[in-house]
């Protein structure tokens, strides 16, 4: 291909780490996972909604609470017959516990409490729940506790607000229309993973460049290949990148997709995502293509970066908004085929 020669800067790749360059990274499925319970777990949850603790009997006479769908010992299916079920507790005995001195924001109690394994009377296993004992000194293994039930129950282990010391049994507030409700078969499980990610030295130097409108790549000193975005190590040779390369923001669109599937966080449809082989690079980078009707986008089109105005730039790849056609003649397929 006819390409401008990339300028090479012989700086060391070890960059200064900014004091706090961590960024929040959240993985959270909108609305939560929709989990089908199956008949056994569904029956247990339906029991909780009614303010009852249900256990399932194994063939050898053990009562499991919470119930399992299959016997952990023999793998036999459990709970198929009504006779396999039994109500337990509600009072029970703490078999072991740990004190939570500083409750987290998502804990159900806003004051210090114990996580405890509680064996309900009549059960052979213990279930995990919170015990609101007031103080650590009030907690003992072997202590007697009973559940306090929430008024708004949905078929969840959280229908038990917590356990409290004493035999109880405690009150079960009536649930409106309970007899008309369908058995629980589907539950929504919110799940949120929160990370604080560091970009790392290589990516930091890359986004520093992007803040100045400069695209930076790395060159492998063994195979000579220029990577953009840069790599800490060459994917082919495994060697650390030691050479930075400043690249122009011009190149050729090697191939692309016209996206008509809308998604949160993605551009408005239809949008073009494609691979741009920057002049002087040895691998095409994924980028958006815009300022052109989607019908007119072509493989081999010459493109140039469109940047966020200088005053609005941040340390982000998003400074490079997209690539737009330059109007130069298309590059013949044979000249860039090996980069597809």
């Amino acid at each position: 291909m006819t390409q401008t020669s990339p300028s090479i800067t012989q700086t060391s790749p070890a960059m200064t780490q900014t004091s706090d360059d961590r960024a929040l990274h959240v993985l959270e499925f909108p609305g939560g996972y929709t989990r089908s319970t199956g008949p056994v777990i569904g029956r247990f949850l339906t029991g909780l909604r009614a303010g009852r603790l249900l256990g399932v009997r194994t063939p050898d006479g053990k009562v499991l609470v919470p119930p399992t769908e299959y016997d952990p010992r023999t793998a036999a299916a459990l709970g198929a017959a009504d006779d396999d079920w039994t109500e337990v507790g509600p009072a029970g005995t703490v078999t072991t516990w740990t004190w939570v001195a500083d409750p987290r924001p998502d804990h159900r109690l806003d004051r210090p409490f114990a996580w405890a394994l509680i064996r309900p009377d009549g059960a052979d296993t213990a279930l995990l729940h919170a015990v609101d004992a007031g103080s650590k000194a009030a907690m003992t293994t072997g202590m007697r506790v009973h559940p306090t039930w929430r008024a708004e129950r949905t078929g969840s282990i959280k229908d038990i607000a917590c356990f409290v010391p004493g035999e109880g049994p405690g009150e079960v507030p009536a649930l409106e229309n309970e007899s008309e409700l369908e058995p629980v078969s589907l539950v929504t499980i919110p799940s949120r993973l929160e990370y604080r990610l560091r970009p790392g030295n290589i990516w930091n130097h890359f986004i520093d460049g992007m803040a100045r409108g400069q695209i930076r790549g790395t060159r492998c000193t063994t195979c000579g290949k220029v990577y953009v975005p840069p790599r800490g190590a060459c994917p082919a040779d495994g060697l650390p990148a030691t050479e930075w390369v400043d690249l122009p923001d011009t190149g050729v669109l090697t191939t692309f997709a016209v996206n008509n599937v809308p998604a949160a966080g993605a551009p408005e449809v239809p949008f073009i995502s494609g691979y741009v082989l920057l002049d002087g690079a040895d691998i095409a980078m994924l980028a958006l293509v815009s300022d052109v009707p989607w019908q007119d986008v072509r493989m081999g089109m010459r493109v140039k970066g469109v940047w966020v105005p200088e005053a609005e730039r941040t340390r982000s790849v998003k400074n490079l908004r997209w690539f737009a056609p330059t109007g130069e003649p298309d590059v013949p397929f044979e000249r860039f085929e090996e980069y597809v």
């Binding site: 996972y33 199956g38 399992t68 996206n259 993605a266």
Partner: protein, 393 residues
């Protein structure tokens, strides 16, 4: 290759958009019990359990193998989970087979599953770090540029993808387990369906399915015992291999990845295959987007480079062609992602066992030729394949 290893039991659930009647555990259990029944066994006969599924974000269960141990009778036995993105079903089967080939176990239960209705795979595949931008939506957004490059490179006519979409859905009508059943499917229906990720239309893409598949892999001794008990015949593993390569590497051919070619070459060498089109009676190949049939026809050596689409166009890969591809309807008709690779492996085994029912390829049933099972995953970077036959190698 180690000791001989045979598929002695296969079990599949019906593949559906939503299986809200069962939990994840209930779903895998269903497939496992069917595989055990097929092999004339119970959980007590199993030495080891290997579980495979696609990324955890799909259902939000981080260690599914622990949660599923009760359902799969794994108490007191070795149990492990395999993960190689979309190819995981295939690599799970190969890890299970390796436990038999190594002489470590006689009977290994391999199970793969996905319950896509619990989440949204397109969302799970479209997350991005805070330092990058979201440029791709789902697997279709990722693969569409490579399909465009294949079309440009091979000069294939635009209707080839649609032909595959129709062919695999017609095949699915003969498969009782298949998810998508579209009676009257034809080129016009496919062409009129919405363009999702140009050049991929709605009907050229795979569905989102709930489902599980299980296989019992056995040693010579286990195969003989099962055959005596059930009267069924095993499928013997003649060749098995996995390969991987980096997703982004300068000079990498993402359309025709070297890892796929190397993986096939390894399997063919073990199985003595020099002419895949002639020596295989059927192939179950991971084709989640219709154009991947001609692309993999070339990658797997069934056609010369640039000529895969001609095989499709000629009808050679149709159910009545000389080398039927995806007689079960393939991934285009059923796609519980983590299971999809193992379904390919299991369907290949069913063909040489003569157990494929209405979608049995006659030439595969007589046992003289082999069948190919194939899976790929990630950015076309993980490959798993096996060749199976009725004769003991």
């Amino acid at each position: 290759m180690g000791n001989p290893c045979a598929v002695i039991g296969v079990g599949q659930t019906e593949y559906r958009a939503k299986r809200t009647d069962v939990s994840l555990a209930g779903l895998v259990r269903e497939a496992a019990l069917r595989a055990l029944a097929d092999a004339g066994l119970t959980f007590a006969d199993i030495d080891s359990v290997v579980v495979g599924k696609a990324p955890d974000m799909f259902e939000g269960v981080a260690t599914p193998e622990l949660y599923l141990a009760d359902a799969l009778g794994a108490a007191g036995k070795p149990m492990m989970r395999v993960h190689t993105a979309g190819s995981v079903g295939g690599s799970t089967a190969l890890v299970a087979a390796s436990q038999v080939q190594a002489g470590r176990h006689d009977r290994v239960l391999a199970v793969a599953f996905e319950k896509q209705s619990e989440s949204n795979a397109t969302w799970a595949l479209s997350t991005h770090s805070p330092f990058s931008a979201s440029l791709v939506v789902g697997a279709g957004g990722y693969f569409a540029p490579y399909i465009r490059a294949y079309i440009r490179r091979s000069g294939a006519p635009a209707n080839i993808g649609m032909m595959v979409a129709v062919k695999d859905r017609i095949n699915a009508l003969r498969n009782p387990y298949a998810h998508l059943k579209i009676p009257g499917i034809d080129l016009e229906l496919v062409e009129k369906s919405m363009m999702l990720w140009d050049p991929i239309r709605y009907l050229e893409t795979c569905p989102s399915s709930d489902g599980a598949v299980a296989m019992v892999l056995g040693s010579e001794r286990a195969a003989a015992a099962s055959a005596a008990a059930t009267g069924g015949r095993p499928a013997w593993v003649h060749g098995a291999a996995m390969r991987s390569e980096p997703m982004g590497m300068a000079g990498r051919d993402s359309v025709d990845p070297r890892a796929g070619r190397d993986c096939a070459a390894d399997v063919y060498r073990q199985a003595g295959v020099t002419e895949p089109r002639r020596q295989f009676a059927a192939a179950e190949v991971y084709v989640p987007f219709s154009w991947y049939e001609p692309m993999w026809l070339e990658n797997l050596g069934f056609a010369d480079k640039g000529a895969g689409w001609k095989l499709t166009e000629s009808g050679a890969t149709a159910f009545d062609g000389d080398i039927p591809w995806n007689p079960s309807g393939g991934v285009l008709s059923s796609n519980p992602i983590g299971a999809s690779g193992m379904i390919r492996f299991a369907e290949a085994a069913q063909q040489v066992r003569g157990q494929a029912g209405e979608h049995q390829v006659a030439a595969a049933a007589d046992g003289s030729r082999l069948a190919l099972g194939h899976a790929y995953g990630g950015g076309s970077q993980f490959f798993a394949m096996w060749a199976v036959g009725a004769a003991k190698p």
